[in-house]
Assembly symmetry: C2
């Protein structure tokens, strides 16, 4: 039940982006420097976020990334699902039998997984990027904390 670095780094990167892209596009290089994440790896995460429609890119010199929509319309859930895929703890929510599950409605644990899934999604969807940016700005050390030491 762990989140991978994709989700962890990616959310940090997007908060950073939201915070700095108000004036001009933010380059991978600058996010990488502030957040202590490898440029090359971050590149891949940004690509995923772009495909998910959360950010837009501007190519060429002085280019970079900006949010594709308002920060209050982007939830933590949007970000994590874009990077981690579905957040459901067990993949048998769909009623398809493709997953080899023929129990249909007659499976007790399915109900358990469904409830966990619902609670996770509700929680991540009610947290929006703009709140996090505000909290981040209110914090003393942001951008100054020991880079590269925190993997979360």
């Amino acid at each position: 039940m762990k989140l991978s670095t994709k989700g962890r780094y990616g959310l940090r990167a997007l908060i950073d982006l939201a915070q700095y892209s108000e004036i001009e596009p933010v380059s991978i290089n600058s996010i990488s420097a502030r957040q202590g994440i490898s440029e090359r790896y971050l590149e891949q995460l940004m690509s995923m976020l772009k495909k998910a429609g959360l950010i837009k890119s501007i190519r060429g010199a002085n280019g970079g990334y900006i949010l594709a929509k308002n920060a209050k319309e982007i939830s933590v859930g949007d970000v994590l699902r874009a990077l981690e895929g579905s957040l459901e703890p067990v993949e048998c929510s769909g009623l398809q039998e493709e997953d080899g599950c023929s129990a249909a409605g007659g499976c007790v644990t399915k109900y358990v997984w469904q409830r966990i899934n619902d609670s996770i999604n509700q929680t991540v969807d009610e947290m929006k990027l703009d709140q996090l940016v505000m909290e981040s700005k209110a914090m003393p050390d942001t951008g100054v904390f020991e880079q590269g030491t925190c993997k979360n």
Copy 2:
């Protein structure tokens, strides 16, 4: 954010155990047969559940396992944590700096992980084994559904 087979199989096994151990101890062999889980693998899961104090074992012929406490005192959370370890999506909840995180209180994402963690734990802790056993008994096909096809 996926649960491994440990958690999935383990919960199924424990529901099965709770259901059949009212009269006599239940052997790994019989759970294995009903649930379509490898005996040898199930053995390891049972060992973990035992170490966590959720079940007790009775060795020798006619032995098997029984619950260590009342089914209504065992939560889904107890089972999953015993098998999967902590369910927290990111391990930086403790205020120790051991994890290489020196951000202490000044980390925005930490707050996010904490909220997800809380919601997961609340959800899994309010589901008790006795409820699941009741639901399971109320279902038509339990014990008859195609064994080995469902991995969840």
